[in-house]
């Protein structure tokens, strides 16, 4: 096997791995704070991509589109939390989970109705087209951009959670909700903020993915499973763990794609199963 090919596959794995990490962190925040696995996470990922696509069609400004996508999806997250999840606080998490499952169907079908069931493609902005010479191999600029942007976003999320007051409250919420509300903090608002933040991260991950993989209404289906894998391996609210798990899964996937492309998605889940067989608590999980 040629070295340049191997290098570019590893780089591809790192780029998609960073996107997986973004998805995983968003899900991790939602699941950690609200105690529900958000089954709409994949559909919201797809919605983010479609919002980017639409803004590109209307305005043609990639940077604006990249900003609007997470805001739009995050706003929808606020509505979902406020209108759907909040009335179910007393009913229990199983029902909240089923609500998100129903919403995932609604969002996916909504995308089919508003846009179309046919897949579409999206070019990167002119600035990010073409490749750069890395010495060993040529590599598409856009994928490098995705890697850097995702890294910046992950860093931002880390700074928010570790260095700000509200981030500390959010981490406390993951650990012990009752104690947090006893301290006089509006736990319901915390839930809304966490849900919107998680959805927003899914939205921007989707928007960033659109120029790489194109768009179709079901593009979030495998992403949802992958986000679950990242959380199961990393543990809830564990940012560094999510990054490591995301990169591991991304690189494993793109290396397997080199010699056995058909298995490249199933291998993600096989890797998870193998790790959980040896370490039931996940790579970094405590609970």
């Amino acid at each position: 096997m040629k070295i340049p090919l191997l290098v570019s596959q590893v780089l591809n794995g790192l780029a998609t791995g960073m996107l997986y990490a973004l998805m995983g962190i968003g899900l991790s925040i939602i699941t950690g704070v609200l105690n529900i696995p958000n089954f709409a996470h994949g559909a919201l990922f797809a919605l983010g991509a479609y919002i980017l696509f639409t803004i590109m069609q209307l305005v043609g400004n990639f940077w604006l589109a990249l900003l609007v996508a997470p805001l739009g999806v995050g706003l929808l997250g606020v509505l979902i939390e406020y209108g759907g999840i909040r009335p179910l606080y007393k009913a229990g998490h199983d029902y909240q989970l089923l609500l998100t499952f129903g919403l995932s169907l609604i969002v996916t079908e909504g995308i089919i109705i508003v846009w179309s069931p046919v897949g579409m493609s999206q070019l990167p902005p002119p600035l990010l087209r073409g490749g750069v010479d890395l010495g060993i191999t040529f590599y598409p600029k856009y994928r490098l951009f995705v890697m850097v942007t995702a890294a910046v976003l992950v860093l931002g999320a880390w700074l928010f959670l570790e260095k700000t007051r509200y981030g500390a409250i959010m981490r406390a919420g993951i650990e012990d909700k009752e104690m947090v509300s006893l301290l006089g903090i509006d736990i319901h608002r915390l839930f809304t903020v966490a849900f919107a933040l998680g959805c927003g991260l899914a939205g921007i991950a989707g928007a960033l993915t659109a120029p790489i993989r194109g768009l179709n209404p079901w593009m979030g289906v495998d992403m949802l499973g992958i986000a679950f894998v990242v959380v199961a391996l990393a543990g809830l609210g564990n940012l560094l763990g999510s990054i490591a798990a995301g990169l591991l899964v991304g690189v494993a996937q793109s290396l397997v794609a080199l010699f056995w492309p058909e298995a490249s998605v199933a291998v993600i889940f096989a890797v998870m199963a193998a790790i959980l067989l040896v370490r039931p608590q996940g790579l970094f999980g405590i609970r």
């Binding site: 699941t31 105690n35 529900i36 696995p37 089954f39 759907g84 009335p87 179910l88 009913a91 998490h93 199983d94 029902y95 989970l97 089923l98 609500l99 499952f101 129903g102 919403l103 995932s104 169907l105 609604i106 996916t108 079908e109 909504g110 089919i112 109705i113 289906v221 495998d222 949802l224 499973g225 679950f228 894998v229 959380v231 199961a232 809830l236 058909e262 298995a263 998605v265 199933a266 993600i268 889940f269 096989a270 998870m272 199963a273 959980l276 067989l277 039931p280 608590q281 996940g282 999980g285 609970r287």
Partner: protein, 323 residues
């Protein structure tokens, strides 16, 4: 048998006999198949308190394996059913082994993620499964030389298997094992403290649920003559959870009623509009927000309400109604 049990039994028998008169035979058959599937899930969801989002894994695996053997090796129908049950049990035991070590949220996510693994394997392994097109050409062998190709004959065969499944599930739920599972649902720590090996019991529940799913999977493949890719997909897993929820989880007949409502509605709507999953999603949201207890509870509430109107003192019944 108590009077209550006999009454319920008569209602189910009447439903089995009357259904094909009012509903198209294929749909009537699908209702009982889905009910068998739901019975298995309900042992996990309703009785053990384990919300599995990956039941299609066992349903689909059994359908593919038995379907493949039926198609290419022309195996006997009893062997096909037995293989389906074994595949369902074994795959559920394997998946369950990984999942029961984690609890709560992780458990749900793992059942889902492993479902995805099976789905993408079936999706890509086109030489065997046919990928997106499914695996067509599944035959429906005769039973002791009796041809079950006529829809009503197959309906009768499925209905008998459903009644047997229902009877077995009732025995399981009322057995000491069933009581232990309910104890785990109510208070896992206490069950553990009483000396029960909780993970092993959960695993056992998983395997039993897998057996029911496997049986349902083979019957499904023979009903439509094809194993569609969706039969191993996560939406299918969600559907059975939803059907059980509409009926009312935690009661033996909940998934049966739920299956009736779900299959009948989805089969009627799906022929009218290609985007019917949208309505399914809306129904999900409405049921979850407003009708959480399902049909069984709505029924109990109705009777409680009537009793309360007749004699205010009887309102207490409402509080004891099954969840």
């Amino acid at each position: 048998m108590s009077r209550e049990t006999i009454r319920q039994l008569l209602v189910v028998l009447a439903a089995v006999v009357l259904l094909p008169i009012f509903v198209r035979h294929a749909i009537a058959t699908e209702i009982w198949i889905f009910a068998i599937f739901g019975l298995g899930l309900n042992l996990l969801m309703g009785y053990t308190g384990l919300l599995s989002f990956g039941q299609a894994t066992f349903f689909g695996s059994a359908a593919y394996v038995a379907g493949y053997l039926l198609k290419y090796y022309g195996i006997d129908i009893f062997l096909a059913l037995a293989i389906g049950i074994v595949v369902g049990t074994v795959s559920a035991a394997g998946v369950g082994y990984l999942c029961v070590q984690r609890s709560g949220l992780y458990f749900i996510m793992l059942t889902f993620a492993l479902n995805q693994m099976f789905y993408f394997t079936a999706y890509q392994w086109t030489t065997v499964t046919g990928g997106e097109d499914g695996m067509p050409g599944i035959p429906r062998p005769s039973i002791f030389g009796f041809d079950i190709h006529p829809p009503l004959a197959y309906y009768a065969a499925v209905a008998v298997l459903f009644l047997v499944s229902l009877w077995i599930m009732q025995r399981i739920v009322e057995s000491p094992l069933g009581k232990i599972l309910q104890a785990i649902r109510e208070n896992e720590l206490r069950a553990e403290a009483l000396g029960y090996n909780v993970p092993r019991m959960k695993l056992l529940a998983f395997a039993v649920a897998g057996a029911f799913s496997g049986l349902a999977g083979v019957l499904y493949a023979m009903l439509f003559g094809i194993v569609p890719l969706e039969s191993i997909g996560f939406v299918f897993s969600g559907n059975v959870v939803f059907a059980t929820l509409i009926g009312g989880s935690g009661s033996l007949y909940g998934p049966v009623i739920g299956s009736f409502v779900f299959i009948w509605l989805s089969e009627s709507v799906s022929t009218m509009w290609a985007r019917w999953p949208l309505l399914l999603g809306v129904a999900f949201v409405i049921v979850v927000l407003f009708f959480r207890g399902g049909v069984v509870e709505a029924w109990a509430r109705f009777w409680g309400w009537r009793a309360a109107h007749r004699a205010p003192a009887a309102a207490q019944v409402d509080a004891d109604a099954p969840r």
